[in-house]
Chain length 100, copies 4
């Protein structure tokens, strides 16, 4: 299992508000039934790398279906194979060390 953060940004939309586009991209995650977390600067998803990239492919396409002419997508993958990687686990590891 790996972790992906993705940000999908349509460019050249008349308005600087992008939540209509972001919501439709997130809807794909709801429909796919995957574990995800909305963060202020991107969405984090946990899964197999192949599945994560397939989801990224569909999320990247979504703004075009809503009329966008250009889309900038940023993907960060953290893939660790010596121990399980979970969203809660990563945050807890930092919090524990911060407060010890």
């Amino acid at each position: 299992m790996a972790m992906m953060e993705i940000t999908v940004v349509p460019l050249g939309t008349a308005s600087p508000s992008l939540s209509d586009y972001v919501a439709e991209a997130i809807r794909l995650l709801e429909q796919a039934g995957v574990e995800y977390r909305l963060c202020p600067m991107g969405t984090t998803i946990v899964g197999e790398v192949d599945d994560l990239l397939q989801l990224a492919r569909r999320m990247h396409e979504q703004p075009f279906l809503q009329g966008a002419l250009r889309v900038a997508t940023t993907i960060k993958i953290d893939d660790r194979r010596d121990k399980p990687l979970t969203m809660e686990g990563k945050i807890r590891a930092v919090r524990d060390k911060l407060h010890q």
Copy 2:
């Protein structure tokens, strides 16, 4: 007020575990008393752009103080000047549209 997501990663540490480094970088935010949120793939901070970049500068330096020889830092800034930008507001705007 703008929003910054930052990830500070030391390279060439013998172990793939990085939470010792991340925790010390986060400690700087605690000491500075700024509003931040730990996300699984980075830390989000809200503030004036000048202040955000000063914090980024100090967080980037932190792993060197712990012995790292190379540090890769990734910063994303979202700066919107037509309306206030808050972490809760950004997430709520997406959630509201998702469920309407």
Copy 3:
């Protein structure tokens, strides 16, 4: 045709030198016969989005084959559908405006 910039970074490699890993990931692009450009902070590739993400998948896997336990991959996709997007064209458009 879209454009992708990719950076594949193994973590916990003991040495801060990563060019052994980067070279093997680039070798996959040579073997695939795609158009790519080495830039100081990442590699840019032009192609169909599906093909780009398949290449990203293989490049991301490469450091694990060389013994890495954790890999951080960053992907930026720029996909513009109202006009052709080329590496030379993007740079020339900026240069022309800079010097006019």
Copy 4:
């Protein structure tokens, strides 16, 4: 000396063409007399970390001066202190290993 890649993207600009904005941000680098390289997906600059972040601050501000209401800036810093880091050197290290 460290290396920074920066991408400054105005959002909500009506047109998907951004080179007018990118050119003005690059002009700041020309005026500052720093070593930079235009890459298809971003601009790479070499310098002291403090200077790099000051340049980033000014480049991030530039689209607002041209009327943008929202700007998304992405910065990647690679800072290596065990040996000198140059743009040519990084690319040559990979090329040499690729062809040996």
